[in-house]
């Protein structure tokens, strides 16, 4: 063999040496599970007997038989996702933009205050929320509202089908200022000051125009990264309703999201084939929303 070929092969092997540990773990814990979820979704599997192939039955049942899914779980998931996803995203852009308007030292302190909720673990925070939203008269929110005479009777916040969803949305928005928020803050701060100067010479008159014509276009890549993080975070944040109400399914399915539905069927009813079908639908929905973000913010080339 020519020395050049030997060198090329060596180079190739060296690259794989660097990349293979990650690839192996990634394959085992991401690729294999996704592929087996797709396979299991076509089977009847109770985790003891071998999976029995039943074609599209699980998907057909999901659409035609599963009342809870069609009436509550899917609408809840979409409602939750649309409020927390775009809501949290706009909020994190707005906060990042506000933070960029103030001097460095105070910015660092305030950014930390805004970012710190996302550092709290959902499990740990459930304790705090449960005390705040406690259903008796000594719950903090009940007590506060009663002292202002807004309500007369204590409200069963986390057990009530009316309030569970709004509470879930508030709590999730509260801790959604995470990696995406930091990325957008860094993106805004890194825009070259001359861009703004040029913009003002070209006739930009107010700050809204400045944001629309200069800030957003200059940080599109960070906007996209933040959007993808928001989509994934939203669909991930499913456990909150079950933690707050202490039950799966949540009271009258009011806070039931797809993640809870998967857990309900997979680990409580041991209908893993069916649960896998729900998982596949969830993965497709997340992928679809992320692609939509790509359409909106991706560089079209």
């Amino acid at each position: 063999m020519k020395p050049a070929t030997v060198k090329a092969i060596k180079n190739e092997l060296s690259a794989y040496a660097f990349i293979s540990p990650f690839l192996i773990i990634f394959t085992l814990l991401v690729v294999v599970p996704v592929v087996s979820a797709i396979y299991l979704s076509f089977t009847d599997f109770n985790s003891i007997q071998t999976p029995k192939f039943i074609g599209l039955s699980n998907y057909v049942n999901l659409i035609t038989q599963d009342n809870a899914f069609m009436m509550y779980v899917l609408p809840n998931t979409l409602k939750f996702a649309l409020l927390v996803g775009p809501g949290g995203y706009l909020l994190s852009f707005w906060l990042a933009w506000l933070l960029a308007q103030i001097p460095r030292r105070s910015r660092t302190v305030l950014a930390l205050a805004i970012y710190s909720p996302s550092l709290t673990a959902a499990v740990a925070m459930a304790v705090v929320w449960l005390v705040i939203f406690s259903g008796n008269a000594s719950g903090y929110l009940n007590n506060f509202l009663m002292s202002l005479s807004i309500i007369n009777e204590p409200i069963q916040w986390t057990q009530s089908p009316h309030y569970l969803m709004p509470i879930m949305v508030t709590v999730s928005l509260w801790n959604s200022m995470g990696v995406g928020f930091l990325a957008m803050l860094a993106g805004i701060l890194n825009i070259n000051g001359e861009m703004y100067e040029a913009g003002y010479i070209d006739g930009i008159r107010n700050r809204l125009q400045e944001v629309w014509y200069i800030t957003i276009p200059s940080m599109k890549p960070q906007m996209l990264f933040g959007a993808v993080m928001a989509v994934v975070g939203t669909f991930q944040a499913g456990a909150i309703g079950v933690q707050l109400s202490g039950a799966n399914p949540t009271p009258q399915n009011a806070g039931q999201l797809m993640i809870n539905h998967i857990e309900d069927y997979g680990f409580l009813r041991y209908d893993m084939g069916y649960a896998s079908a729900v998982s596949v639908v969830l993965l497709i929905i997340v992928y679809g929303f992320s692609k939509l973000c790509w359409r909106l913010f991706g560089e079209n080339d």
Partner: protein
């Protein structure tokens, strides 16, 4: 030009015109940290203040008794709390270290090496950014079971190690290193390992700090692997213990337990906060290169 300078982004010093930004930000920040102040206060309340009616947000006579109680009371399985804490520290340490190693190696190869599968691997990793691990809990459980990792520390560690965001951020950061620098080292006879270890690693420290924070949060806050893969109580983590506290507090509306639960929540939160404060400038540095195209 005057109008431009009066409302300049990223200002160097305070000016009176910034008051409205401060007004918004300070009121929002107060809302954001209120629940966190509440954990501090709740964790330091003595029993009589936890029972106080009407309830008070701030503690009057702070004590450490909730922490003492947290570590003295034993649960049904009679596992000392320090064991949970110890397990969490071991698992988190391993996850942080291994994530740094894996993400830096992969990020380096994806940025600076040429190989056949390069484009495919990068694309797959981008798709994996959109991956929701919770959706595949069941097949993941089957994989861990088949590998024989139930009731094994690796069952905690392995699922945390596929960190596509980490690989992505490191790769973007390595892209900033000029190729000429690496070529010069290679001309001097440096092999890939040397280039990686002596040249690339020192230059991507901010990205590695970010990866370590992400990995830390993931591992430290993770209760799921304990409940799914570990049947032995002595192998479970502090986050898992925390989640059992939550359920008992919720079910029995047990007020004495609230102080203990808040103390545990505080122990969960403090390490996350400290690590972020120490590394925040490096994180911001990495995030500047986080853009997706």
């Amino acid at each position: 030009m005057a109008s431009f300078h009066s409302n300049k982004i990223n200002p160097d010093r305070f000016s009176f015109g910034q008051w409205k930004f401060f007004a918004f930000l300070i009121s929002l920040s107060v809302f954001m940290i209120l629940p966190i102040i509440f954990i501090f206060s709740q964790a330091l309340k003595p029993v009589d203040e936890l029972f106080l009616y009407p309830p008070k947000l701030f503690v009057n006579h702070p004590t450490w008794s909730n922490f003492a109680q947290l570590f003295s009371v034993s649960n049904v399985a009679a596992v000392p709390k320090t064991k949970y804490l110890f397990n969490s520290i071991i698992v988190t340490g391993a996850v942080v270290f291994l994530s740094i190693v894996l993400c830096s190696m992969t990020g380096f190869a994806l940025s600076k090496k040429e190989f056949k599968l390069k484009k495919v691997v990068f694309e797959v990793n981008i798709i994996a950014l959109m991956f929701v691990p919770a959706a595949v809990t069941i097949p993941r459980y089957l994989v861990i079971e088949k590998l024989g990792l139930t009731d094994n520390f690796l069952g905690h560690i392995l699922p945390m190690l596929s960190l596509p965001v980490g690989v992505f951020l490191v790769k973007q950061f390595v892209d900033q290193i000029p190729n000429a620098l690496i070529e010069a080292a290679q001309l001097d006879g440096a092999n890939d390992y040397y280039v990686f270890r002596k040249l690339v690693i020192p230059m991507i420290m901010p990205a590695l700090a970010t990866v370590s924070i992400l990995a830390f949060q993931l591992a430290w806050n993770n209760a799921e692997t304990s409940s799914l893969f570990m049947s032995k109580e002595t192998l479970k983590t502090f986050a898992f213990y925390m989640s059992t506290l939550t359920t008992t507090t919720a079910m029995e509306n047990n007020i004495a337990g609230q102080g203990m639960a808040a103390a545990a929540a505080l122990l969960m939160f403090i390490p996350n906060l400290l690590i972020f404060i120490f590394m925040q400038s490096k994180v911001m540095d990495t995030m500047a290169h986080s853009g997706l195209k």
